[in-house]
Amino acid sequence: MTLTLTLRSQPPRRVDAAPLIPERLSGFEADEVAAITLRCGGDRIPIGDLFEVSGDDAQELILAGDLRRFDGIGARMSGGEIVVRGDVGTWAGAEMAGGVLRIFGDAGHRVGAAYPGARAGMTGGEIVVSGDAGEEAGAGMRRGLVAIGGRAGNGAGLRMLAGTVIALGGIGAEAGLGNRRGSLVSGRAFEPLSSYAYATRFRPPALGLQLRRARELGLTVGDALLRGMWARWSGDITELSRGEILIFEGEEDGE
């Protein structure tokens, strides 16, 4: 079944939306969900005051509206699916462990990232963002996929342990700083940090599977990306140097 939350009115201040995850709402009726309160500035506001709630038993949770003031959507979720129709605030999918978070809109800073002080961010699951994402997407990620249809801001994949961050519209400066074993993928030309070294150009078979998966989850992925050649840079040399940045080079073989 699906539980749908449609935004009625903008909250007065930023809202911690982290409780809105399938495993915490599962088993509740719509009116019970409406009675749950969310932290908003120093106050708590019932979900029912902010959203129109319909449906029940949220293995699939749909959030609709301009949710730029809602932080931590899907944070620490471990299963089920959240679909957001609209832009979201910061920390969406932070420290996510499993399940699928699909954002049809833009995401704020630190999507899928680790909270301050935490060693590891995301440990599993999949996040797709159809629009752009803010800074430090996938920071501290250990496992899983963050796929961004648009551009990722500065510092994507910061101190990444493993996992994959894809930004089809390109990644911002200082991507992959302190990356150990993670994969960063840029669909546009990009100049990596000096702590990355150019290795080769090839067709990465695993990336093909990941791009197909992202397409399955609703991202627009052009065939050129699936067929094309990618440059591989290894880094971060200040860590293990087992991480990589893959940069799209176009469809030509270069022969």
Partner: protein
Amino acid sequence: MTAAFRLGETEVVDTFAEAFPMRFSRLVITAATDAWALEAARSMTGFATSVIGCKCEAAIERTLLPAETPDGRPGVAALLFAMDREGVGKRVLERVGQSVMTCPTTACFDGFEGDENTVPLGASLRYFGDGFQVSKVIAGKRFWRIPVMEGEFLVSESVMVGRGVGGGNLVIGAGEESAALAAAQAAAEAMRGDGIALPFPGGIVRSGSKVGALTSKSMPASTNHQLAPTLRALLDDTLVPDGVTALFEIVIDGVSEDAVREAMRRGLHAAAGAGARHITAANFGGKLGEFHFPLTELRDPP
């Protein structure tokens, strides 16, 4: 040896094929071109005609269009059968390691959707990567990226093992060798399909065997002398009827009892339509195999 029924000129013997429970895996091999996918699949399913001598039985199930494969490249589905799970695991690992990983441009995937009853594949092959291997979990499944001279070999962490049926068979004879072979080829062609592996060369075996031997206690199998036309005059119990000079056997391994039965039905009718004079089946008296396929049940066309 009485005829159960006739299909046109073809006499079908009142007997049954006797088959055994086996375990199997399905592998999907993809490559840059369909020709390379086929090279890898042929190599991987080579020397896998009979568990007695090859420790497994394997064959190409069918070719796959790019739209049907996990990575959108041309591919081949192959089935590999062995007597138990451990056997499937060992043979899959050896064969993917030696025949698929080595073949230019390939990737290798589990051909099943589920994740139960698996045997390790990439989980073991990854050590070829000598510490440089990388794993990725994609849509809940783990894959290994093994660096190789051409780029990367991508392989599923594990493959599922299913319960299948091995040893279904048809024996097809005619008055001339060429006619018997043409009928057997038509049958093999008709039998191939989803869930079916015909492990012998071209799907056809000319040296059908019996269990054990008349002259030795240590031989696991020897020639099916009762179906050897050159021995007709020597034997009181020959099974070669008058006017038949050559017989060919098609051995069928399938993913289920039903898959084997329906393949036999397709084969029987195709052989009858292609000039077979005599159709029978091999069994061991019915005591060894769990599955019996009486030819009388195949009378209705597919």
